[in-house]
Symmetry: none
Subunit: 407 residues, 2 copies
C-alpha cells in the first residue's frame, strides 16, 4: 500500500499524534478488561465522538513480538518486513545501527576444553551477574577491535547477555545475515561453527568465526564466562523513511531504548524526555509540538504490568494516561489516535493475538458509534476490524493528506 | 477472485438488482448522516430483514475516483485494473471505445509563435465558450482524419476541453498508452513533444506528434484556441465481460454518459431511459425486467448534491429513491442490493474514503441486525466491513449462482 500512498500523497500542515499504550488490549475480569475497568472519562469522550475499531497487529490469530507489532503500526507489513532479533537487541541497548552493521544477540557460556576443542558445560555461564559481564566484555573489547577491516563492537546486556555489532566498510548485501546460530542447544556438545546459508553470508560468517576464536582466547582463563555463543544474526532492515513513505516529519516520544530504536529505523527524530513518566512525555510533546507533523508517543508500563499479570496496575497506568489526555487535546492536533501495539492481557501474563482497540479522533470521524473506549465497544466500531499495517493509510486520510485514487 | 468464481458458477434464472446511489456514504450533522436523516421507511424495512454491512471501495483509507469506485463494485479490483483518464473522459462524452482505441483528454490552449516554435500563453485558451470549441473542433475534424493509417476523431467537451480518439488498425499493446502529457504546466514554455516511455508507446507517440502538428497548422489563425495540449493517454481496459466472468446477462440503467460507458466496458447492455429522473429509470427496469439477469441502476444526484455540500438536497434524493423502492420490490427480484460507489459527505464537498453502507435483500440474509438503513447500523451489520471488489461474489452467492468450493 505504501506504493499507492506515495502516488496520492499531498502535503499539508496538519498535526497527528499517535499514542501507543503498549500491550493495551486485555481480557476481562468480572466482565471487564483492564481498559474497560479503568475509569477513563477523557478517552471515553474521544471514543464517543471519534471513529472506533480494532486492529490486528500482524494477522488474525497471530501474537506479535514488539518489533513486529511496531512495524505494523508504522505501516510496514510485518509479514513482509522484519526486524531481526540481533537488531532488536541492539536497539534495546540504545545502540545505533546503519545498513553496514550486522547485529547479533550473544551470551556468555561455560566450556571445558579437550585440547583446543571446546565443549559447552553451561549454555548461560551460570547467569553471571551483570557486573561480571561488564568486566569480561571490556577485556574482549580491549583486545578485539577489528577483523579483516570489519569493526567489532561488543556491549553488555543483562546477566550473561551481550550484543555484538560488526561494522562492514560497505552495506551488507541482502541475505548476508542468513547465518546459523552457534549455540549447540545441548550441553556436552561443541559450539557450532557459524555457517552462512548462501555465498554472501559465507563471507560474513568467516569474519564471525575469527571473532569467536579471538574472543575465546582472550577469556579462556575466566572461571565461568569463558566462551561466546552467538545467534539472531540480523542486518538493519533498511526501511523507507516516514518522510519518503508518507511525507511526514515524524518524532518519537518514548522512554525505553527499544522503541526509540525502532522509531529511528523508520527515520523518526527521537526527542529527549526528562524522566520515565508519562507526564514528562506529554511535556516533550508540548515543547516540540510546532516542530513536527507526526508524533509517536509510547507508554510502556501497560505492557509491563500485563506481563506481570497485574490487572489493577495495568488499569491504573491507563487511568494515568487518561488524566493527561486533556493536555494533548489542548494542543488541538488534527488527528489523535489512541491504541496499543498488541494485547497483553494480565490474565495471560504475555503478549496475545487478540485484536487491539483503537480510536481515531478527527473532524472526519462519523462518531456516535461507541459509549466509551473499550474492547467491546471497539469491536462494533465504524472502522471495523483491520490489519495494523493499514492504519497509516487511515491516519493520512483523516489528516487530509491523500488525494483521490484513480480516475 | 473472478478465477475462483468462474469455476463454481452455476446458471439459474434468478434476478438481481444492484442499486447504486452515487456517493451515498456521508458524515453526520447533529449526529445523523444524510442517509440517516432522510426518511426512508422502505429502505429501513429492507435493512431490517436483509443483510447489512459496509464496503471499502478500493482499500482502507483510500478515496476513489468514480471509475475506480465502479470497477470495485463490478468486481474488478481497482488496485489491479484501472480506467485511464482519457477513457473516462471519452465515456463521459458518450463515445464508444474498443481495444484498438487510444483515448486522450485534451484542451485548447493559446500559443504565440517565434518562427515555428510555439510558446504557451494561456494553458486553457481563456476558457473559450463551448460553442467556439465546437466550431474549432469541426475545422480540425474536416482536415485531419487519418495519420499513418490511424483514424483520428476529435470531440468537443465543455469550454476548452476535448476528447481525441485514435483508432489503430489493431489492438494497442500493453504499455502502448504510457505517454507523457504535452502540457508544459507553465505558461511561457513550449508544449512538450509527446514521448513514449517504452518502445511500444514510442510508435504510438509518433502518430500523436504528427496529429498535434497537423491540428496546429489548421487552427494557427485562431485568436485564442490555436493549439491543442493532450494528456491522460489511455487505452480500453479490456475487462472480462459480466457474461464471461459471472455468467450474467447484465443491463445498465443510468442517465449520465460516464456510468453508461463504464457499464459498457464490462459488457452490460445500456438501456434507454426516457429522461433524467429516477422514476424513469425505474420505468426502464420494469419494462426490461424479463430480458436480463442483472440490472445496475445508477442514481447520480446523491453525489452531485454531496459535492455541492447540500446535505438536505442529498437526503431528499435518497427519500425520492426510497419512495420508489416498492416498485422495485413489486418485481420480486431474488436479490436487491442498495449501496453507493463511495462516500461523498456534504460536509466535505468531495469524495471520501469512508466505508459505504450496503444492504442485501435476499431470502438468504440472516437479517434482524439493523433497525434501519444507515451508516451506524451498517457498521455493525452481519456482512462486516469488506472490500467492494468482493461484493459480486456475495451477490452471486445470495442469488444461488455459486456451487461449493473444493471437495
Amino acid at each position: 500500500m505504501q506504493e499507492v500512498i506515495r502516488k496520492i500523497l499531498q502535503p499539508n500542515d496538519s498535526k497527528i499524534v499517535l499514542c501507543v499504550l503498549d500491550g493495551l488490549g486485555g481480557l476481562p475480569r468480572d466482565g471487564k478488561t483492564e481498559l474497560e475497568a479503568a475509569s477513563t472519562p477523557n478517552l471515553d469522550e474521544l471514543a464517543r465522538r471519534g471513529a472506533c475499531g480494532q486492529h490486528l497487529p500482524v494477522a488474525i490469530g497471530i501474537t506479535p513480538g514488539s518489533g513486529a507489532a511496531h512495524l505494523g503500526l508504522f505501516g510496514y507489513d510485518p509479514l513482509k518486513y522484519a526486524i531481526g532479533r540481533g537488531v532488536l537487541e541492539a536497539l534495546g541497548l540504545g545502540l545505533e545501527l546503519t545498513p553496514n552493521d550486522l547485529a547479533i544477540r550473544g551470551n556468555f557460556a561455560s566450556v571445558r576444553y579437550e585440547g583446543d576443542t571446546p565443549y559447552v558445560t553451561d549454555r548461560r555461564a551460570g547467569r553471571i551477574p551483570t557486573q561480571e559481564n561488564i568486566r569480561i566484555v571490556s577485556r574482549i573489547a580491549e583486545k578485539v577491535k577489528e577483523i579483516d577491516g570489519v569493526k567489532v563492537s561488543i556491549t553488555s546486556g543483562m546477566e550473561h547477555r551481550v550484543a555484538v555489532i560488526f561494522t562492514f566498510p560497505e552495506p551488507i548485501p541482502a541475505g548476508g545475515d542468513d547465518i546459523h546460530d552457534t549455540d549447540p542447544q545441548l550441553e556436552g556438545k561443541s559450539p557450532l561453527i557459524p555457517r552462512g546459508n548462501n555465498p554472501r553470508a559465507a563471507r560474513v560468517a568467516k569474519v564471525i568465526e575469527k571473532f569467536i576464536d579471538q574472543a575465546a582466547k582472550v577469556i579462556r582463563d575466566e572461571e565461568r564466562a569463558n566462551y561466546l555463543l552467538l545467534r539472531g544474526f540480523a542486518v538493519h532492515p533498511n526501511l523507507t523513511s516516514y518522510k519518503e513513505a508518507y511525507g511526514l516529519d515524524a518524532a518519537c516520544i518514548a522512554t525505553y531504548p527499544m522503541y526509540r530504536g525502532v522509531a529511528k529505523l523508520v527515520g523518526m527524530d527521537v526527542l529527549e524526555v526528562e524522566d520515565m513518566t508519562i507526564k514528562s512525555e506529554i511535556e516533550t510533546l508540548k515543547r516540540d509540538f510546532d516542530k513536527y507533523d507526526f508524533f509517536y508517543l509510547h507508554v510502556k508500563k501497560t505492557d509491563s504490568y500485563g506481563e506481570d499479570g497485574n490487572f489493577d496496575a495495568k488499569a491504573k497506568v491507563i487511568e494515568e494516561f487518561d488524566s493527561l489526555v486533556p493536555e494533548i487535546t489542548a494542543l488541538k492536533p488534527d488527528v489523535i489516535i489512541v491504541t496499543g501495539d498488541h494485547s497483553t492481557p494480565a490474565a495471560m501474563k504475555a503478549h496475545s493475538w487478540h485484536p487491539v482497540p483503537i480510536l481515531i479522533s478527527s473532524k472526519y470521524a462519523r462518531g456516535g458509534g461507541s459509549e466509551g473506549f473499550g474492547e467491546h465497544d471497539c469491536s462494533r466500531g465504524e472502522l471495523g476490524t483491520f490489519r495494523a499495517a493499514d492504519l497509516m493509510t487511515l491516519i493520512l486520510a483523516h489528516s487530509g493528506r491523500l488525494q483521490k485514487y484513480g480516475a
